[in-house]
Symmetry: C2
Subunit: 482 residues, 2 copies
Amino acid sequence: MVTTFEKKELKKKSENLSEWYTDVVLKARIADYAPVKGCMVIRPYGYALWEGVQEALNRMIKAAGVENAYFPLFIPHSLLEKEKEHVKGFSPELAVVTVGGGEKLKDPLVVRPTSETIMYAMYAKWIHSWRDLPLLINQWNNVVRWEKRTYLFLRTTEFLWQEGHTAHETEDEAMEMVMKALDWYRQIYEDYFAMPVIWGRKSESEKFAGAKATFAIEALMPDGKALQAGTSHNLGQNFSRPFEISFQTRAGKTDFVWQTSWGFSTRSLGGLFLTHGDDNGLILPPQIAPIQVVIVPIYKGDERKGKLLDYCGELRDALVGQGMRVRLDDRDSQSVGRKFNDWEVKGIPARLEIGVTEMEHRTVTIARRDTGEKLTAARKDFLPVIEKTLKDIQSSLFSAAKVFLEANTRNADTLVEFEEIMKSVRGLIRAFWCEEASCEAAIKEKTKAATRCLPLDAKQEKGTCIHCGKPATHRWLFGQSY
Amino acid sequence: MVTTFEKKELKKKSENLSEWYTDVVLKARIADYAPVKGCMVIRPYGYALWEGVQEALNRMIKAAGVENAYFPLFIPHSLLEKEKEHVKGFSPELAVVTVGGGEKLKDPLVVRPTSETIMYAMYAKWIHSWRDLPLLINQWNNVVRWEKRTYLFLRTTEFLWQEGHTAHETEDEAMEMVMKALDWYRQIYEDYFAMPVIWGRKSESEKFAGAKATFAIEALMPDGKALQAGTSHNLGQNFSRPFEISFQTRAGKTDFVWQTSWGFSTRSLGGLFLTHGDDNGLILPPQIAPIQVVIVPIYKGDERKGKLLDYCGELRDALVGQGMRVRLDDRDSQSVGRKFNDWEVKGIPARLEIGVTEMEHRTVTIARRDTGEKLTAARKDFLPVIEKTLKDIQSSLFSAAKVFLEANTRNADTLVEFEEIMKSVRGLIRAFWCEEASCEAAIKEKTKAATRCLPLDAKQEKGTCIHCGKPATHRWLFGQSY
């Protein structure tokens, strides 16, 4: 399935990022609005990207001994209430089932916004001894957090994610897991999405409801706003105490388990689309692109068509044989120009243009989606050329994003300086903050920029809070969020 | 994770199938009861089986050009009402969200029991011309159909499945798709689950709510009851008319699309567990077993342990190198006897018992889970022996089930004969039926056996309905259902 529309209809990324984003996600057939408020449909081309994420993350998750499982969609409200901060944090966003099988329910069921409570009720039943630890479980599922307005991928009532939930004998071991999951997310962003990221610890007011500490991945979008997608929580014993997940230690005593939870959602795909792409549509990094190479045969009349398609088929088979994801666009119903346009909007990294010239000289013309450059290679050695081209595209997308991130991460030493940056270019700001919630709130109200995180590599320094002037030990990262 | 309990605690399959089933599914850590009425938790070992099904079905589905996508969990009630038979069929089983984000909803949202209506609202938007056809979409998701009592896998309020939904230019093409999907399900049962099945068309009263015709896979359980899991529907234009999914035909006219839907659910795993297995626990066919071979090292004292584990590791690597799914059980916390017991309950097809004798003579002792037989092979050629053993187990499980199916599928020419079979051995019965709903209902009330299907290979014959004596043209398949 491909799109058919005129390129001139596409909104310009350079003029209005937000309109361009919605337009291109719809026109590239990544997603569509659903006839349910706050929800969207993930179309096959968008879902293929999610399958790519699943495959990559599953590989990392399983290699670490974490096993996939499935827990119920519904959570009794009474169970959700066990951890007070948790229920307080999620209450405003809940969808509640009050009728089942034609009858009014005595204990209403919440559609999971996240699965801590339903999973830990089971963990309490399964864990008795240190021999049962660590318990390492992940699930791929759908969760619901009520939203009134849909922003495709970035804000939807229902979204898809994986949520990992582990239980350990010690907090050190739990923290190791927290950082391991965070590193997996960093890898997905950097190695697959070609997006450089900053990772760090969230402030007390921004952490997950019920967590002892939350760590997150932050990325910077072209409009200077920050996007968070990928969080990993040290839950401490905050859940194991109310859920009574206790175990006999190696020393024969009784303790509560140390827990972690971590999630990566379809929201991340929104960041991927925003980061790369241009006025002609999406640009997908080859590592995650569902189609890495599209082959477009170019012919007039039918007499050479058969032979040309044979040649194209031969090229496709050679590429597939190297493990590449390839599509041969042999549709008769569309013009070549329309085909070029379709695949550009969809962001296919490399396009092979194969005409009679290429066939007769046994060559291949390759067009790069990111730069528009064209090069010609001989059939006999085109495979390494394509491989190199894909690698180049991947690394040049990453480099461009890294240059942008670095150029737009600034130090601000006074609130005035901070405000000026936010009023003009936005981006990320490193500034001293005393770590009092009142200053954090005041800065946000004045500048729209909230704390994003304390970067893992932030050095201890001597400074003063840009808001109250009291001593501060670290520069926190601030930014306006999506 | 493995189970730890005494074998004598396990219920006997030969004495009470239903109690054995629940007991073994819990003890093998396949699934557990959830703290939500009607729901269950699929534990990692059970979920690994479902991942196996997903992998196999995805391969078949994608090779046929069907693409995966994702549609919303929630369906506005107003949308569900568009197809009258459909809403009538599903109304008694619905879970309804009436509160979202703290507010009472004007249009309550139904948690999808199946996705025809929400998907087809989008299909109407996407399909305009024959060029947009066929539209071939599948989704893997969770659905909810209200149940009060849980029967692990076989009856749960929420279950996992795939639902394929296609739209075509002609009914012939749609029917081809219906039969293709049914054949995929047959392959999963026969080639992976080692379960012989009968396939056929459901009667008018048993077909899917809203379908023109429903085709299904039927399997026979050891207690003589029939289990259906895997249905494929010819929807005709029953949905495309109310949803106005029309298209411009090749001839320039306007027509409504011809549709199919087909689903395969986690329910099928219940059939797998019931079919094979014995008083010692599950027996999983090698083709679907998450662990095909378990290696248990046998040693006393620690002096030889290192070398023995090296030898076991070498065997594991050799098996993994052949693409086999292997677990080396090197836990110190469990006795050998307990390990044997654990893996027997979990139904691992082949167990390698590796002691000092095996290590010193460089041999391997293989125990078959299905027959209990042991054989010894030399290290240098144990790989083909294991491969052959796994193949033998797969085919002998299938043969045994086939012998059982054939021995328990009987012709009944009178209602008296029919009743006698149902009172004694049950099983499947082939009998003439006039195809009137009233006779079908009367037979069910008298005998508990409903029509299962009209088998695809049923010949046209001259007969008389066993209930009313009127002319009948085919022997239908009857059985008591799960």
